[in-house]
Subunit: 139 residues, 2 copies
Amino acid sequence: MISKKTKYAINALVYLAKKNDNTPILISEIAEHEHIPQKFLEAILLDLKKDGILASKKGKGGGYFLLKSPNDVNMADVMRLFDGPIALLPCVTYKYYQKCEECTDEESCGIRSVFLEVRNQTVKLLKKATLTEIIHRGN
Amino acid sequence: MISKKTKYAINALVYLAKKNDNTPILISEIAEHEHIPQKFLEAILLDLKKDGILASKKGKGGGYFLLKSPNDVNMADVMRLFDGPIALLPCVTYKYYQKCEECTDEESCGIRSVFLEVRNQTVKLLKKATLTEIIHRGN
DNA sequence: TACTTATCCTATCTACTTTATAGAGTATTG
DNA sequence: CAATACTCTATAAAGTAGATAGGATAAGTA
C-alpha cells in the first residue's frame, strides 16, 4: 500500500494539473478541496518543490503551481519521492540495492527472478502514468 | 517492500519444497540454513500451517512439511497472508476494499484506473510464481 | 510411567515509521 | 508597515515491524 503522504501528493498534483493555467493556488484551497490536513500538505508540497515538480510564490497572490509539464510528472517518480523504492525486494531495486545475506548467486535466484519481473512491469506502468494520462483516463 | 516475515516465509517454503520428500524438517534446520531467527520463524510456520500450506508433526522425528503441492503455493497467497493486500490503493483491493472519502465516482477516477492496472498485472505475475516455478527458474 | 523431543501458545519489548499538530520565521505584495 | 502565505523546526501520538522469553502441549521412546 502506498502511504497517505503519496496519495495526498498525487491528489494535490492532479488538482493542480487540472487547472491548466499556471497561476498560484493556495495550500488551503488544495487542502480543503482534497480533504488533506493543511499542515501535512504543506510539508508534502515543499518536498515536491524541492524535487523540482512544483514551484511556489510567497505573499498575497501566492501559492503553488506546476513547474514541470503534466506530461513529465509520472507516478513512479512521485512514489519514489515519498515511499522510496517501488520494488518489493531490496535486491531488485536500483537506487536502494541491498544484497540478501544468504544469497550466493543472484543470477540463479528464482525468487529474485520473480520479483524482478514484478518490479519491471510495475515501474513500466507507473512511468506511463503521467498527470496528463491520469486526467485523460478520468471520464 | 515486502516485510521480512514474508521474505522469511518464502525462503522457508522454497527450502521445504526443494526437499521433495515429505519427511518433517526441524524448525531449527530451516532457521539455521536460511538465517532466520528461530523464534520468529516458529510464528511464521505456524501461520503457514493455519493457512493449510504446511503441516507439522510434534515430538521426535517431528518438524514441518508441505501439505499443499508446490504447484499450488504461489507468491500472491503468501504475500497476502503476511502483508495483507497486494494492491497499492485500498479502492482497488478485493478483500480489503475501502472507498476514498473524496471520490464521487470510482469508474471515472483516473488514479484508480492506473493503480487497478498495476494491481492486476502484479497479481497475475505473483499467482504464476509457484514454488515449483521458483525452483525451476533457479536452474 | 517417566523422559526427551519439538511444536504450540501467550506475553512482552524496543525501535522505527506514519500521520499529524503547533508555533515561530521569512519573503512578497500593496 | 501591515497583511498574506509559504518555510522551517520541533514534537507527539499511534501504529507496526522485528524479535525474544518462557512455559504449555503433544508425540515418540525406553
